[in-house]
Structures are given as C-alpha cells and as structure tokens.
Subunit: 359 residues, 2 copies
C-alpha cells in the first residue's frame, strides 16, 4: 500500500518556488502531457490561474501569494505608502482572475495584512517576508491536507467505495489534497478504498486529473460520466461522497465545482453521506449564506468545444457556470484540519472559529 | 413560428426507403457534417444501429423492420418453413445490436407475426408485405409523434422553459420526435418555448443533435453540461423536464439514456414535473418492473475518448452503462399517443392496454 514517503515522492509537485520562479505543473495538458511551467511575472501567473493551469482552491491561494511577490519584487518604491498602493494594485489584479474560490482572496488579504504589520520596516525586507509567507503557505497546506486526511480517514473503512467530483486531490493543493486526502490517509492505514471519479464536464478535471492522481498513487479508480452518478448510487456501488469546496459560507452552504449540488441531492436520496473537505481557509465567515457567493461564468467554448474540437452547432446559447451552491442541509459534515464539523453547521462553525480566535 | 409544413421541410429525414436502400442520416457525424448513408445489406444496417448512426428507440424499431427486409429479400427459400427460419436468424442478429430499446424487439416481433399470418402465401409475396410493413411503420410513427406532440403541448404554456436529455426529437424517430414533439407542437400553437439541452455524455446526443434540431426548427435552445441541471433547476430556470424512453415497464419504471434517473430525482426535489414521452411501442407490458430491463454496457473508449482524442489516462477502470432506470414514483406522467397517463402508472397502463385490446 501507499506510504507517506511514496506520496511525497509522487511524480507531481503542484506548485513550488525555484528560487527565482513559481514552478507549476500545467494542469490543462494532463494527463496526456506532464509539463512544468516556470513563471517569473505577474501577468503569466494571472493567466495560469484564469485558464486553470493551476487550479483548486488551496493551490490558487498559494499561487496568488507567490503572485504578490512576483508583482512587487521589482518595485522601485522607497516608502511604505507607495509600496502599499502597488501591492494593492497587484492584489486587485490577481483577485480578478477567479471570483469564486475564497482562498484566493484569503491569501491576498494575508499578504496585505503582513505588509501592513511590517509598515515600519524597509520595503526590501517586506518583499522578503512576502516571499517567506508564500513559502509558509506551502508548508501549512501540507499540514492542513494531512490533518484533513487523518480526520477524514475515520469515516472510511476497508473495502469502501467513494464518489468524488472534480479534483480535490494533490493537484488542487500543495499537499496531498482535501477530498482525496482521507483516501490517501486510509491507504496508509492499510484500508483498501476504491474511488469513483465523476469526469466533471466541461473541463474534465475528474477524468484528467483525479484518475491520473489515483492511478499514480495506486488507488483503484473507476471513471464515470457525471450523469452516471445516480445509477452508481442506486446500484449501491458507493458508500460515501467526498468533495472539496471553493468557498463555504458561515451557515455551511458550500460552493464547489458545478455538479456538486446534484450529487448532494442524489446522495441524500440514496441515504449516502455527503462530506465536504473544507480547509479553514476556504470557509468564509464574512458571508452568511451561499446566496452571497459570486459564481464565475466561464467561456461558452468550454462547453461547445472539447480539446479544440467542436461538439455542438454554432448559433446556440450556452450556460456555463463554473460552480454551484449546495445548501447546508444536504451536507453530512465538513472535514476541516481542526476536526469534523457536523450539523448544525452554522452553529458549529461559529463555535470552531470562536475557539480558534480565543487561542 | 414553426408550421407543420416547415417541420416536414426540415432538412433532415432520419430514415427513409429509396426503393432499393435504407437511407439514414449518419448521426455520429452531426452537427459538424450532414451525411446520408444508403444501406443495402443487413450487416451494414446492424453496424449502423450498433454504432448509433441511427438511434432513438422509435427510429431503431423502423430501421430493424427494414433490416428484416434487407436480410431476406435475396432469400432463395421456396417454402415457408425455410423462410421462417431465415427470418428468425435475421431477427436474432438484429436483436443483438442493442439490448435495451424495446422498440427493436417490438418491430422484429411485428415482422415475424406478419410472416406467420401469411404463411400460406408465396414467399415473394411475404417479402413484399414485409417491406410494406416497414413503410407503414414510418407512417405510423409520424402519426404517433404528432399525437404525442398534441397531448404534450397541453402541458406547455407560452414563455415556459423545459429541460430535456439526450435526443428524443425528430432524429430519434421517423416523425418529429417524442419528448421534443410537444415543444414543436406548442410552437405551432404560437407558444414560445425555450429548451435547455443537457449535453448527454458520453456520446453528446444533446449537444450534437438536440441543439442542432432545435436551431433548425427555430426553437431557442441553451446547451448545458449534464451536471449543471441541478443549478438550472435551483435557479428556477426550467419549469418541466421532458425525456423519451427506450423501454418502460408495466409498472411505469422508465429506462432511458443514462442521466435520466438523476434528472428525475432532482426534478422532484425542486417540485418540477417530470414527463416521459412514451409511444406505446416503447412500453413493455411483458415485464413487471425496471429491474427486468437489460442495460447495455458500452465501450469504455466512449468515456475515455472524445472525438478520437484521449481525455483520461490509460490504466484506469471505466463504467459505461448506456441507460438507467427511473422508478415510476419519480414520473409525473407518461405522454403516449393515446393520451397522458398519470399515476398510479401501473394501474393506468393496464387500463389503457386493456382498452386498446378491446377495440
């Protein structure tokens, strides 16, 4: 079975710092090509986030933190006010890449708060600390993923099959994933877990990334079209659903890749638990409910074309929301790095964040 | 708006007899190419059904009837016993092309019953009658589609949006469709109906065929990925779901393109009526429930490849059932050519078939 060491040695490192550049695996060409990109400028990094070369809420947050550094490392600012204004511009630009994942804004806020705390220090020192903060985020993400894995693995028993959607594995984080982390952790414990991966139209993150990642990790994986989820559940083939989240509201409403809402409703219908792996960085206590989460609308070409080939006629309308919102009543529990949060989600999230603040 | 004449003049004729050959539009290359095939032999016709060049339960039934004729027209049989055995072999072969759609078996049984009734006539005359019966089926199908359209249109009002899955339009029949017939008919009545088309992975009959057919008919159509259905419903964008069926059991359980079950469950969750357009030829009163319907498993390549391009890694498992079964409790009503059948579906189907038999 998979050992932690093997996971560390997995042939993919989603995001890293080379000393000069942000190095990412280009997720738009997986699994047909394993191509790494070294990004040295802000605009290219923005494009990489926008086009999903780097994707997954936690990984986007880390990429954005490095983006802050790329955006200000050549700044000529001599005083903090000028530097702060430049950083604010960089953050605004990065924030425009993708509106739904809160980790992006969480990371930008964190970098800006750091700069603010260091306002009395020389600009060059602040730049250095920003890079350090981005590197810290990678380390933190590793710990968060492992912790989610440990808590989530308690929900899995040997021989179980789970269904997941999109990719909330190592490729979505700097560590070994959120929704897939419990599967990897259970594997370390000697449990045999089987994964059904929904292909996740239109961009096929499930077909391209989750299957690839499971295969590389030695986890048995079966690919299905998204619309086969109901029949897989009806036939008793899966015993739990595990998904990630791009932003979870204070009441427990979950924004995640489009298709998640349907899975949650089906899971309830078939009495299958529906778990959301949610790093605290993806929980937005500033918004009351999912109704306040902005949903990114993406290019119609993603639906009408597949790998450059046209699959639908011209002259039709297309609706292409990247995410949907699952009301908290469908969520069995959130799996955070501080433990499993069950219903009532709103109340229990309040308590959890109050505890963290009190420490 | 669309007139009946315009529908007749639509640039597509799904299936026709040229005098020598079965002429079909090749649905595997739509909408990028509009290519017609003239088929003169049994094996090519079998391949056309198997590979979905001709598809949709009613159209498959008609194709199979012509297939019977192609299979026996050059028979050298002089006596009925020999001819009957040859015809039985042809029917068995055609029946192996696709196991789920009952129309295929219904059509084969009808041709064999016709031959049986004519057993005292010369073989050449029986051959001629078989061709006539296939031609009759085209005419009947036109009437059935129009009738389903007329009844179904009563469920539609001006300004309504409906969601459909796969293609149960004119391309699935010889006429103007089953699930889409009410939309076309409502159009004739001056009602403006908007169609949301689920793309229908893996073979994209919704993206390729339903959108094309609606566009050609002047019906506004919006394409979505299958996994966007829940969010479209949650946002109140659709007021009804209309789908076809490949086989409906005596208790009202509906086998249809995979993904239908999920839509039915979501529709109930969002209090949206779920209608199944079911020609009587697709209702199999010989089986009690959907559990008895054989579900065709198709080639994994349909999921791992899209238009010849690989979209998933090698070395993974794939599950690719072509159909799923929707329990009757999720079905608001069946729309047949004899009227709308509401719950309890089992009881009301019994009554309907008893009435028909009594006539």
């Amino acid at each position: 079975m998979l050992s932690y060491l093997e996971i560390q040695l997995m042939p993919v490192e989603t995001i890293a710092w080379t000393g000069e550049a942000v190095r990412i695996i280009d997720q738009t060409v997986l699994p047909c090509q394993v191509r790494y990109l070294e990004i040295t400028d802000l605009k290219t990094l923005w494009e990489a986030i926008k086009t999903l070369r780097v994707r997954g809420a936690p990984a986007i947050g880390i990429a954005a933190a490095f983006g802050c550094y790329l955006g200000i490392r050549d700044s000529k600012a001599q005083d903090f006010e000028t530097f702060r204004a430049e950083l604010a511009g960089v953050c605004e630009y990065l924030g425009s890449a993708r509106p739904t994942a809160v980790n992006l804004f969480w990371a930008l806020r964190r970098i800006q708060d750091l700069a603010e705390r260091m306002r009395d220090h020389p600009v060059e020192m602040i730049k250095h600390e920003i890079l350090d903060e981005a590197l810290n985020m990678i380390e933190e993400d590793h710990r968060v993923c492992r912790s989610i894995g440990r808590f989530g693995a308690e929900l899995l028993h040997d021989g179980m099959s789970i269904l997941t959607h999109c990719n909330a594995g190592g490729l979505a984080t700097a560590g070994y994933g959120t929704a897939l982390a419990p599967v990897f952790f259970a594997g370390e414990q000697g449990k045999h877990i089987h994964v059904y991966a929904g292909e996740t139209r239109p961009l096929l993150q499930g077909a391209r990334l989750t299957t690839w990642e499971c295969r590389e990790a030695g986890i048995p994986v079966t690919l299905i079209s998204d619309n086969m989820a109901a029949t897989v559940m009806a036939q008793g083939k899966v015993q739990a659903v595990f998904v990630g989240t791009d932003r979870t509201a204070a009441n427990g409403d979950v924004a995640n890749k489009v298709g998640t809402l349907g899975l949650a409703i089906l899971a309830r219908e078939f009495h299958i638990p529906f778990y959301v792996a949610a790093p605290l960085s993806s929980i937005d206590m500033a918004i009351e409910s999912g109704a306040e989460i902005p949903i990114e609308q993406r290019n119609p070409d993603e639906v009408t074309h597949s790998f450059g080939r046209r699959i639908a006629p011209e002259g039709i309308n297309v609706y292409n929301p990247a995410f949907d919102v699952t009301p908290h009543r469908y969520v069995t529990a959130l799996i955070t790095e501080r433990g499993i949060v069950g219903p009532p989600l709103g109340e229990n999230l309040q308590k959890l964040f109050a505890q963290i603040k009190a420490k």
